[in-house]
């Protein structure tokens, strides 16, 4: 079974570019309907299928994603 993972997103730094959304193989991420202080729809986790593959974090231009994976 795939390992479980989790992501923490720094929503105030996120610019809502959506690159992470298309990079996620598990479709865990989506843009929130709400906006952050700068007015961007930030990325949020929409389900718990994350495997901690780090794909979202390594394509994030603003380095806002921190990834955890169970050992």
């Amino acid at each position: 079974m795939a390992k479980r993972g989790d992501v923490v997103i720094d929503i105030e730094k996120c610019k809502g570019c959506e690159v992470c959304v298309s990079a996620c193989p598990q479709e865990v991420l989506a843009l929130a309907p709400e906006v952050n202080k700068k007015g961007y729809h930030y990325a949020v986790k929409v389900n718990s299928d994350c495997t901690g593959c780090t794909n979202c974090a390594i394509v994030c231009p603003d380095a806002v994603i921190t990834v955890y994976r169970e050992k």
């Binding site: 993972g5 923490v8 959506e18 990079a23 718990s48 901690g52 603003d62 994603i65 921190t66």
Partner: protein
């Protein structure tokens, strides 16, 4: 379920300490941020943060010195390889890199780029090619593709009157001073990993004093291409990559 995973021992990825905590001024989805980050990650992984000196260009990445947590020097427009030459000759044991865009490296800085590489200066040149002058409002750059619209070629680049796009990377690969020349991209996870490996290789080659390492990163410019970041990455795959194919262009022969 998710709370118990967020513990220090489960941490697999976080922002590198070789980058500062400043919020990047780049537009959403711009490849500059990713390119900065992988270069900073290489510096952190090699443990050379104290021995690295970067040279910032003029262009969108003019404020690169705010983001890299290493010693940085700003250069006049296009002159980063010349400034890096001076730094490397005074501090031959330091790791010196320049970070330049296509307007900086392939237009105003062509002479400095070609001559620094022809002299085989032991520096790393990171070249971000998005085919446009980003900061000044999307004017045509030497690297703008044939038929590509920009604010100074609103009907598309006509090669009869505006010349052909300049493949500066292939050009400099001919020079004997170039040791390692490669072209990469940072729009997909696999490409980011490959680009990071290329930068790491280039940084390691700098120890050997064999010549200039040159890493081109084909990137996007969502704002000036007037697309969303995801669309611009797709456009880049369909239009930029056929003309600027990814891969190693010159690899060390003695390896």
């Amino acid at each position: 379920m998710s709370e118990n995973l967020i513990t220090p021992e489960n941490l697999v990825y976080q922002k590198t300490e070789a980058m500062t905590d400043r919020i990047l001024h780049y537009c959403p989805g711009c490849g500059h941020g990713t390119a900065h980050r992988i270069l900073a990650e290489v510096i952190e992984e090699m443990g050379i943060q104290e021995q690295t000196i970067g040279v910032a260009p003029v262009g969108c990445s003019v404020l690169a010195y705010y983001y890299f947590n290493v010693d940085m020097q700003e250069a006049a427009h296009g002159r980063a390889p010349a400034v890096a030459t001076g730094i490397k000759r005074v501090f031959p044991d330091k790791y010196v890199f320049t970070y330049q865009g296509d307007g900086d490296l392939a237009a105003i800085g062509t002479a400095e780029t070609i001559h620094a590489i022809n002299r085989g200066e032991n520096i790393l040149i990171v070249f971000i090619n998005n085919g446009i002058y980003g900061m000044t409002g999307g004017q045509m750059a030497p690297t703008t593709l044939q038929g590509m619209k920009s604010s100074t070629s609103p009907f598309g680049r006509d090669t009869k009157t505006m010349g052909s796009p300049l493949k500066i990377t292939e050009l400099i690969a001919q020079l004997p001073g170039a040791y390692f020349v490669t072209r990469q991209a940072v729009h997909k996870p696999a490409n980011v990993r490959k680009a990071k490996k290329a930068i790491k290789k280039a940084m390691e080659y700098q120890k050997l004093n064999k010549g200039t390492c040159f890493v081109e990163i084909v990137s996007n410019c969502p704002s000036n291409w007037k697309m969303t970041p995801v669309q611009s990455n797709k456009w880049m795959e369909e239009n930029m990559f056929p003309f600027y194919p990814l891969g190693d262009i010159k690899v060390p022969e003695d390896k």
